[in-house]
């Protein structure tokens, strides 16, 4: 990896189903079979009730911006060409809050609680990133 190549997720056995889901353009999360909590990040036990038994569910792909920031500095050379860009935590109605980018609008148009929907960024054949855009 050269320094100006963007970092990619460190996919492990816990998170592989999520990233496989992204390749299929589906947002997949673990739902606890005991207490029903839908968790993120992926883990072998439920952070709420510590049960191990889970089912992977597919989220609808809508959410709202819980919070966001606008990067004006590239802390990694791979993002120099993107400035300024928005990093957000999007809250999904299914429960999880995930890191993502808000695209498809100006950086000054984003606000907390804005309604957004997933848009798929097929970076390579092996990697798709879930990003979000305003619901029009």
């Amino acid at each position: 990896m050269t320094m100006d190549t963007k970092p990619i997720p460190k996919i492990n056995e816990d998170s592989r189903p999520f990233w496989e889901g992204c390749k299929a353009h589906e947002l997949r999360f673990q739902k606890c079979n005991k207490c029903g909590h839908v968790r993120w990040p992926p883990a072998i036990i439920c952070p709420e009730c510590h049960a191990k038994d889970t089912t992977w569910i597919t989220a609808a792909g809508h959410g709202r911006v819980y919070t966001y920031v606008v990067y004006h500095v590239a802390y990694h050379p791979g993002f120099k060409g993107e400035l300024p860009y928005v990093v957000a935590i999007v809250e999904l109605p299914e429960g999880p809050r995930i890191f993502t980018n808000i695209i498809g609008c100006g950086t000054d148009e984003v606000y907390c609680d804005m309604e957004v929907e997933v848009v798929w960024d097929d970076v390579t054949v092996e990697l798709t990133l879930p990003k979000f855009r305003p619901v029009r």
Binding site: V69, V70, H72
Partner: protein, 267 residues
């Protein structure tokens, strides 16, 4: 530095999210949505602490004044944080010695007593936290420390608050109960935390304006002030402040996930 940024992260680097500035900025943005805060509050923290640093010859910014305009005109790093919302990057060291009160009586320097301690760590990952706009760990940790020291907030003469960012100072003091959510906008006005102010905060300049030594910047300053070893910035008549008997110090880790509160008392 790059290694540190990369190991701090999970998968969020893929979205261009790195290090602490972005994560604290996410917390600050949510706070701006939930209560009245933002740069108009934070400028008082940046400028107020700089005034203390201007009295501290070892501070990195000793000879550099800062006005409200300097703060507002500085460049964005990760919005809503401008340059002067961020702490300094420093090389150096700090140390303090912890021993029993009995042993300390025989030492050359007058000791300072640890009167109260509290710790609270409310969550693991910032994205799964529900407290990004507070209360942070400071609320429960602070209550425990006050209880152990058998004091109330009104007994505090000065605060040394872990200040990785301006907002961290606001949310920590808010969670200790010095003001209600959003009332910091008024509380900080009129030089409250500055030399001559009614509640001096980060009297060395803190990590924003003296030097970044993690939790040791606030604690060592609290100890030195109670020992009376702070020269031109010494709390008391010469800086138009109360002579300190009790100083509250905080440390904070993760992205507002962990807080330790220490109450120091003159021996």
């Amino acid at each position: 530095m790059m290694t540190m940024l990369m190991t701090l992260g999970q998968d969020e680097e893929a979205f261009g999210h790195f290090g602490a500035t972005g994560s604290y900025a996410l917390a600050a943005q949510r706070a701006m949505h939930e209560f009245n805060t933002g740069p108009e509050t934070w400028k008082h923290i940046a400028v107020g602490q700089r005034k203390w640093a201007n009295l501290n010859p070892v501070a990195m910014t000793y000879n550099r004044n800062m006005t409200y305009d300097d703060y507002m005109n500085a460049r964005w790093l990760v919005e809503p944080f401008r340059l002067f919302d961020n702490c300094l990057v420093s090389d150096g060291g700090r140390a303090y010695i912890v021993t029993t009160a009995e042993r300390a009586r025989d030492l050359k320097q007058d000791p300072v007593l640890i009167a109260g301690l509290g710790q609270h760590n409310p969550a693991g990952y910032p994205q799964s936290a529900t407290y990004l706009a507070g209360p942070t760990g400071a609320k429960v940790a602070g209550e425990a420390a006050f209880r152990m020291a058998d004091i109330t907030r009104d007994d505090i003469d000065a605060c040394q608050i872990y200040d990785c960012f301006t907002y961290t100072v606001e949310i920590t003091l808010q969670d200790y109960g010095f003001f209600k959510p959003g009332e910091g906008a008024d509380w900080f006005q009129g030089g409250t935390i500055e030399p001559g102010g009614r509640m001096p905060v980060n009297t060395s300049g803190g990590q924003l304006s003296e030097a970044y030594f993690m939790g040791l910047t606030p604690i060592t300053e609290g100890v030195m002030q109670l020992m009376g070893r702070c020269g031109e910035r010494q709390l008391g008549p010469q800086t138009g402040t109360k002579e300190p008997e009790i100083i509250l110090c905080s440390d904070n880790g993760g992205i507002l996930q962990c807080n330790t509160t220490i109450i120091l008392r003159r021996a």
